[in-house]
C-alpha cells in the first residue's frame, strides 16, 4: 500500500508531467487560455491516457514480449494510440453525446500529445506491474489536470496585466510556468521532512 502512495505522490507532484518531465507542453501553452477549455483538455487527457496505457501495457507484456519483438514498441504504441483516439471519439459520439460535446474537440489534439505516448513508454521503462501502472497513470493524469487548471486561472489574470510588449503571449506564459515549476520541485522537501 505504501508503495502505491509513494508512486501516486511522486507522479502527482514530484515528477509532475508538465513541470518536471516536460511532456504535453503544447496543450499546456495552447489550450490554457480559458478555464473551461483547460478543464476539458485535462479530463480528455486522463480518459485517453488511462485507456491507452492499459492497452499498450497489456500489448507489450503479452504480445511483444512473448514474440520477442519488443523493438517494435514505438511503432506499435503510436499506432495503437492513434487508432484508440479515433475509436474513443466515434464511441463517445454514439453512446454519450453530452460527454462528446465536452471532450470532443480535444480528442483529435491528443493523438499528437506527447504526454500519452510518453506515459505509455514510461510505464514500460519503469517496469511497473498492472496495478502500479494504473495508479501511476491516474495520478500523472490528475497532475496534468491540476497544473493546467491552475495555469489557466493565472493566464486569465495575465490577459489584463500590464505586460511588456515583447513578453505578450507565449514568453510571459513560460515565465509564469517557471514559477510554478519552482513551487512544484520544492515539494520534494516535504517528503524529506515527513520521513
Amino acid at each position: 500500500m505504501s508503495d502505491f502512495i509513494a508512486i501516486a505522490f511522486s507522479a502527482f507532484i514530484l515528477q509532475n508531467i508538465i513541470l518536471t518531465q516536460f511532456l504535453g507542453i503544447c496543450p499546456f501553452i495552447g489550450v490554457s487560455t480559458k478555464r473551461s477549455s483547460a478543464l476539458g483538455m485535462g479530463f480528455a487527457v486522463i480518459f485517453v491516457m488511462l485507456i491507452s496505457s492499459s492497452v499498450t501495457w497489456l500489448l507489450y507484456h503479452h504480445v511483444l514480449v512473448r514474440f520477442e519483438i519488443t523493438y517494435l514498441r514505438t511503432i506499435v504504441f503510436i499506432l495503437v494510440i492513434a487508432a484508440l483516439v479515433q475509436m474513443v471519439e466515434t464511441f463517445l459520439k454514439k453512446v454519450s453525446p453530452s460527454l462528446y460535446k465536452a471532450l470532443g474537440i480535444y480528442l483529435p489534439l491528443i493523438t499528437t500529445n506527447c504526454a500519452i505516448l510518453g506515459v505509455a513508454v514510461l510505464n514500460i521503462s519503469n517496469e511497473y506491474n498492472f496495478g502500479q501502472m494504473l495508479v501511476y497513470t491516474t495520478f500523472i493524469g490528475l497532475g496534468f489536470l491540476f497544473v493546467i487548471y491552475i495555469f489557466s486561472m493565472m493566464r486569465e489574470k495575465l490577459d489584463r496585466a500590464p505586460v511588456p510588449k515583447a513578453f505578450k503571449g507565449a514568453p510571459i506564459a513560460l515565465i509564469v510556468a517557471a514559477i510554478l515549476a519552482i513551487i512544484f520541485t520544492r515539494f520534494g522537501g516535504l517528503i524529506e521532512w515527513i520521513s
Binding site: 513541470l19 518536471t20 518531465q21 516536460f22 511532456l23 504535453g24 507542453i25 503544447c26 501553452i29 523493438y71 517494435l72 514498441r73 514505438t74 511503432i75 504504441f77 503510436i78 499506432l79 492513434a82 499528437t112 500529445n113 506527447c114 505516448l117 510518453g118 513508454v121 514510461l122 521503462s125 511588456p164 510588449k165 515583447a166 513578453f167 505578450k168 507565449a170 514568453p171 510571459i172 506564459a173 513560460l174 515565465i175 510556468a177 517557471a178 514559477i179 515549476a181 519552482i182 520541485t185
Partner: protein
Amino acid sequence: MTKKENFLKGIFKENPLFVALLGMCPSLAVTTSVENALGMTIAVIFVLVLSNFIISLIMSNEKLAKLVRPVRIPVYIVVIATLVTVVEMLMHAYLISLYKSLGIFIPLIVVNCIILGRAEAFAADNKPVDSIIDGLGMAVGFGVAIVIVSVFREFLGTGLLTIWGDLQINLNFIFDFLRISPVGMFTQPAGAFISLGFILAIIAAVAAKRQEKQEKQAKEVKANV
C-alpha cells in the same frame, strides 16, 4: 523559390521553435547541456530528412499517392516511427551515454509536431530533392534553436559548456570576474521555462524593432515620391 532560400527559410524565417513554437517538449527537456542538444539535433536531422524524402517519394508517384491519400496520416506515422526506431537502435549501439541522457525523448521524436507538420505541409506535394533540402533546413533550424537555449542554460547554470564527451569549455572566469556564482536553477526544470521565455521575448523585441524600421523606411519612400 531557389534551393538556397528553401534551405534558409527553415533557419530564419520559418524557424520551427522560435517562430512557429513547434517542438517545445524536447527543446525544454534536453537543453540541460550543449551535448544533449547536439545529440537531439543529429537524431532530428536524420529522421526529418529521411521521412521527408520517403514521404515525397511515395506522394510523387501518382498511383501510390492515389492509394495512400485517404489514409495518409497513419502512413506518415508508420514511416516516421520506423525511422525513429532505427535512430534509437543506432544510438543504443554507438552513443550509449547520449542514449541514456536523452532517454524517453528519443522515442518521443515520433510525436514531435515538426516532423509530421513538414510531411503534411511540404513533402506531400513537393519533389524529393526539394523535400530533402526543406527537411535539412528545418532540422538545422530546430538544432540551432535548441543549441542556443542549451548554451544559455548550461552557461548560466554551471559556467561550463559541454560540447561533446570530454570536450568541455570552462567559462567560470566570467563569473569570477563579476564576483558571482552560477545560478544552479538554470539546469533545473524552472530554468528551462525561464530561458525559453526570455529568448522568445528577445526575438519578439528584435522583430518588432525591425518591423518599425521597415515601416519608417516605407513611409520615407512614400514621402519622397
